[in-house]
């Protein structure tokens, strides 16, 4: 912009006026320059205080400190006492300031005045008092109980702290419903399946990358996500000097762009690559002898295509190696894998040999990209099994378990359950877990795992029954689950829905009552447990500012207020539980109101970390509650290497299983329950394996919605590194900094197409294209990008909100800003674990110039 004379005059007049008042200090047009040396330069930050809390922008769950000036939160940093993030946060940490000060936050409870429900239908919310809101909720709950239908109550959990027990577990069970449904399977579980059915740990691994010599990152980007973000960012530059880094991902993401090796695999072919790597490691004799054992005569008998006598090999910490070889690996040569995976044979061999030579200081970091697939359960096992082959499990520079956390568990509820509660809380859950086609084999138990995204099926089909009332907190399944359109229909069908939320999210549009929630990290009490860098932590979430509005804490204050209302209506069991079991551990006082309950219950749960001897025995010595509040985090001692060696793995054989007796037992139990065999179960679950193959990590060809003829491109979904789990899209900084997602453009939502493909279709950079899948269709800007495998297209997940706020949506309540990937990706499930499917090339799309 050229400066205009009018503007100049304006300033000159203003300057003149100011000069008359303040004298020569504003002598912008003075003829003689003031000598700089004579000027006194001064500056300082105004007083403020760093207060500890915890960031919940992703599941790293970083202990943080927030700088507070005049009662305002102004800056964020990592907690200096944290052994996990070492005092740093990732971009999400800073971004959260625009959430607490989001202009579109809900200030007061609301009720719906338009009975019609549907996408784009204005609920016509009006403000109400907390009392009216809670009375309405309690009346509905009592009505269901009186009708013998307490099981038709559904509690949907979203982002949680470990105070979840109060609303998710205790309230549902004592009230009398089986339906506490968590969000967990939206983006995990298949990954945990891989670790559980090999090493017996249903949980995320820790990684000792500062001491590793070979780091394989598979289907994730740890600089962006996967539970160690700041620590990984801190370490990665040096890891690149000390170790070889290989990244398996069809898209060139951050770690791939910096690594020694990029293996841009064809989506969904992870099992082929993993088994081929295992094949090379065995035929080259590079398995770790200390962990796996060796042939009796010391001679390697693993030759391509040849079976081996099981008796010839003596295993140490593992079980079933030769079986695995004979059933699956012997024919999985790199020559076989190369055309299937799109990775050159030479690269497969080079990486496998590199891993073998670096063993046992190797990490194979399994991420959701390689697991959250229709047939991803066995890929997850195959990839994780490489850690077993290389002796990396619980080894220095390898993959680790977690140290014990000093925190209390939920007090037992059974004493407080009446006959209705006892009976109804044990009924079949609405997510249909345990049905023949949904084994959900959580921790070896059929029908034990949540199948979050199938809850919509249960609601829509009224199978096993109809849901009459639902409460959701910090969840937004109409946006966050694939096949999001199904959730819109499911939510329309629920006659009474209560949403506890900070913003009017998409799912809130279906609510009858809306309760405004306190923002985690800044306004509420809670705590979380997590592990990384060999240390587990128990990190406190505490209010660092006064809540901005008339909001309450979702997991403690709100259920306590509901308990009070239920008591008024003659059902006091929940109130009794809260007041008898969750006392202040220091004074023994019972909570008298919701605020006291929020505080006492957090103190109760974290007491081992700061008030009991357990804490000091297991890790940091903290001197009481005030000391804990000041520090904000308790760290465990470092996890011991080789902790589970010597037959202490959580599997059936107590060993690391290449032939999974643990999975065999679980699958057989599920088959018996449905009076059939394992082959039939696998077929029902869309798997192809037959016989013994069911019990070893093996290759399964990927399952795809939409045939290649009609939908020639494979759609890849990835997450913005600025996603605070779908809750940062109302922050202007989210759009301004979107370019930090490699290949993306600030203020845009684009689909990445390889230039070679684009050229064939006559598409230029910036053209609008129509993308169609079996699930939906949208128009979006094309961005030509070499960092994507030809034949695939990729789009960042995060945008596409049609509600949430005026920054997040183009027209609030009506028109989305950008496109939600979950409307293009169809609903499907990895049925053995219950995990939602997001990856593995399961969505075929057609691309046309719009």
């Amino acid at each position: 912009m050229e400066i205009k004379r009018r503007d100049f005059l304006k300033v000159s007049v203003a300057a003149g006026a100011a000069m008359a008042l303040t004298g020569p200090s504003l002598n912008a047009f003075a003829a003689v320059p003031k000598p700089l040396a004579g000027e006194k330069v001064s500056g300082s930050t105004d007083p403020g205080k760093w207060i500890a809390s915890t960031c919940q922008g992703c599941t790293t769950w970083c202990p943080v400190e927030i700088f507070v000036q005049n009662g305002r939160a102004v800056k964020v940093r990592g907690n200096r006492y944290s052994m996990q993030n070492l005092g740093y946060v990732c971009p999400r940490g800073h971004l959260s300031l625009q959430q607490v000060y989001d202009p579109d936050r809900i200030k007061v409870p609301m009720k719906r005045t338009n009975p019609q429900k549907g996408r784009g239908v204005d609920p016509k919310f009006v403000p109400i008092t907390w009392d009216e809101a809670l009375n309405t909720i309690a009346d509905k709950m009592m009505e269901l109980r009186k009708a013998g239908e307490s099981h038709k109550y559904l509690l949907m959990r979203g982002r949680y702290t470990y105070m979840r027990d109060m609303i998710y577990d205790a309230m549902t069970k004592i009230y009398g419903s089986p339906n506490n449904i968590s969000h967990s399977a939206i983006c995990a579980e298949a990954e945990n399946f891989g670790a559980f059915y090999t090493e017996g740990m249903w949980g995320y691994r820790d990684y000792d990358y500062n001491k590793t010599k070979y780091l394989v990152i598979w289907g994730c980007d740890p600089t962006n996500s996967n539970r160690q973000v700041p620590l990984f960012i801190k370490s990665f530059g040096e890891v690149l000097d000390k170790a070889t880094v290989a990244v398996v991902d069809p898209r060139m993401q951050t770690t791939a762009s910096k690594a020694h090796e990029w293996l841009p695999i064809i989506p969904g072919q992870d099992g082929a690559l993993a088994t081929a790597i295992a094949h090379v490691i065995l035929t080259e004799g590079l398995w770790n002898k200390e962990f796996v054992g060796d042939f009796k005569d010391g001679k390697n008998q693993f030759k391509a295509g040849k079976t081996v006598d099981e008796a010839a090999f003596v295993e140490k910490e593992t079980s079933g190696l030769v079986k695995w070889w004979n059933i699956e690996l012997k024919d999985r040569t790199p020559e076989w894998a190369a055309p299937i995976t799109g990775i050159p044979k030479e690269q497969i061999i080079r990486v496998a040999k590199g891993m073998g030579k670096a063993a046992p200081n190797v990490i194979v970091w399994l991420g959701p990209g390689a697991a959250m697939q229709v047939r991803g359960g066995y890929s997850a096992m195959a990839i994780h099994a490489l850690n077993g082959l290389l002796g990396a499990v619980d080894h220095e520079g390898g993959t680790l378990g977690g140290a014990k956390q000093a925190a209390e568990h939920m007090p037992k509820v059974d004493k407080y359950q009446d006959d209705i509660a006892k009976k109804h809380s044990k009924m079949q859950k609405i997510d249909q877990r345990g049905y023949k086609h949904l084994p959900a084999l959580h921790q070896g138990k059929p029908g034990d795992g949540v199948v979050t995204n199938n809850t919509a099926t249960g609601i829509l089909e009224s199978d096993p029954y109809d849901i009459k009332m639902a409460i959701g907190y910090m969840n937004n399944f109409t946006f966050s689950c694939t096949g999001a359109q199904r959730w819109e229909k499911a939510m329309e069908k629920i006659p009474f829905f209560v949403h506890i939320t900070t913003n009017v999210a998409e799912i809130t549009q279906y609510a009858d009552i809306v309760l405004p929630a306190a923002i985690t990290k800044y306004e509420k009490w809670g705590f979380v447990k997590q592990k990384q860098n060999r240390h587990a932590h128990v990190s406190l979430i505490q209010p660092v500012i006064k809540p901005m509005w008339d909001v309450k804490i979702d997991e403690t204050e709100i259920p306590f207020l509901i308990a009070e209302k239920l008591k008024e209506r003659g059902f006091s069991n929940l109130y009794d539980y809260y007041t008898h079991e969750l006392k202040d551990p220091e004074t023994g006082l019972a909570p008298r109101n919701a605020k006291e309950f929020a505080l006492y219950s957090v103190k109760y749960y974290t007491y081992p970390a700061w008030g009991k001897e357990d804490g000091a025995k297991l890790g940091d010595k903290i001197n009481g509650w005030e000391d804990y509040r000041n520090r904000g985090v308790w760290n465990s001692k470092p996890y011991e290497y080789k902790k589970r060696w010597g037959g202490k793995f959580g599997t059936v054989t107590k060993k690391f299983e290449f032939y999974s007796e643990t999975l065999k037992k679980a699958l057989k139990a599920h088959a018996e329950k449905h009076k059939t065999n394992v082959d039939d179960i696998l077929e029902t679950c869309k798997y192809t394996a037959k016989g013994e193959l069911a019990f070893v990590p093996h290759y399964e060809p990927p399952f795809r919605h939409g045939d290649v003829k009609d939908y020639p491109f494979t759609f890849i979904d990835y997450k913005s590194r600025l996603n605070r789990e779908g809750r940062s899209q109302n922050a202007p900084w989210y759009y301004e900094f979107h370019k930090v997602d490699f290949g993306d453009l600030s203020h845009e939502d684009v689909i990445h197409i390889n230039p070679a493909d684009a050229h064939k279709l006559g598409i230029k950079d910036g053209d609008m294209v129509k993308v169609t899948s079996v699930s939906g269709s949208f128009i979006i800007k094309a961005h030509l990008w070499e960092g994507i495998r030809p034949g695939t297209v990729a789009k960042c997940y995060g945008q596409g909100h049609w509600a949430y706020g005026k920054t997040a949506s183009k027209e609030f309540g009506k028109t989305p800003r950008g496109v939600n990937n979950n409307e293009i990706m169809p609903f499907d499930i990895e049925r053995l674990s219950g995990a939602n499917v997001r990856n593995g090339g399961f969505t075929g799309v057609k691309i046309e110039k719009a």
Partner: protein
């Protein structure tokens, strides 16, 4: 007297944006508008090559605090609004600034309109005469009338604009700038004067940014420059100064490559 400069280790950098977002929280810069970025810390991203041999580079950028600062030369007011401090920092005096934007035109790292000039960023941004800064927190629109807040309401309730404003004082600049003036990175002199690191340096989770005295051979910046070959930016399109080329003598240096260059095992 020290001469402050910065060295950015690209092998450590992961291009995550934490430094630039931290800067926004420290220096309370407003949202991007009218071809201006207002990001005192920003990034250049570059992709080269063809699949699968693709090279992608992220490069954090900021004011280069040039020794031969073109912005200072161009500043027409006396004493100069854009001026050098003895410690080498290029500092903008907000009161003296008349908003003529000559500094912006002169600076090789700045553009009057980054969109029109197809630049990746602009060191110097200009707060338009006609608008108050931070319009986002002055807007009165409620998405659900009577139930949700507005930008103006949350700012008023919090007690400042922006509501997360970090309060600091400096003899030349304010913690939030005003309409009709330019603004840019000050190397966080208000922090450095008190022995603290610039906030982007203190906040970089990768430890990729090193700040210190280029005149002191024992400083971390000097040691990094001695250990590695360094490059400097020539402009805001991502081009580098050629060997022997001095440009405006920028004091921000880049070492190592974004992609690892060390040999594979």
């Amino acid at each position: 007297m020290p001469k402050y400069g910065m060295v950015i280790d690209l092998q450590k950098c992961v291009g995550c944006g934490a430094c630039a977002l931290a800067c926004k929280t420290e220096n309370n810069t407003q949202d991007r508008a009218k071809g201006q970025t207002f990001n005192w810390a920003d990034f250049i991203y570059k992709a080269e090559g063809k699949f699968p041999n693709v090279k992608f580079t992220a490069m954090p950028v900021l004011c280069n605090h040039c020794t031969d600062a073109a912005c200072v030369k161009a500043c027409p007011v006396t004493p100069k609004a854009m001026h050098k401090h003895e410690n080498g920092m290029t500092i903008h005096n907000m009161e003296r600034c008349i908003g003529c934007r000559q500094c912006q035109r002169a600076c090789p790292y700045s553009s009057e309109d980054v969109d029109k000039s197809k630049a990746a960023y602009s060191v110097i941004s200009f707060n338009d005469f006609s608008d108050e800064v931070h319009p986002f927190y002055r807007d009165k629109k409620e998405v659900v009338a009577g139930c949700t807040a507005s930008g103006a309401e949350i700012a008023q309730k919090a007690g400042d604009i922006p509501p997360h404003r970090t309060l600091y004082k400096h003899s030349d600049y304010a913690s939030v700038r005003v309409a009709g003036k330019v603004e840019k990175c000050m190397f966080c002199e208000h922090r450095v004067l008190n022995g603290e690191q610039p906030y982007c340096v203190a906040s970089c989770p990768a430890g990729a940014r090193i700040f210190g005295d280029l005149n002191d051979p024992n400083s971390e910046v000097s040691k990094a420059l001695k250990a590695h070959k360094a490059v400097q930016l020539a402009n805001n399109k991502g081009e580098l100064l050629k060997p022997g080329e001095k440009g405006t003598q920028p004091n921000v240096y880049y070492i190592r490559g974004f992609k690892v260059t060390a040999k594979k095992a």
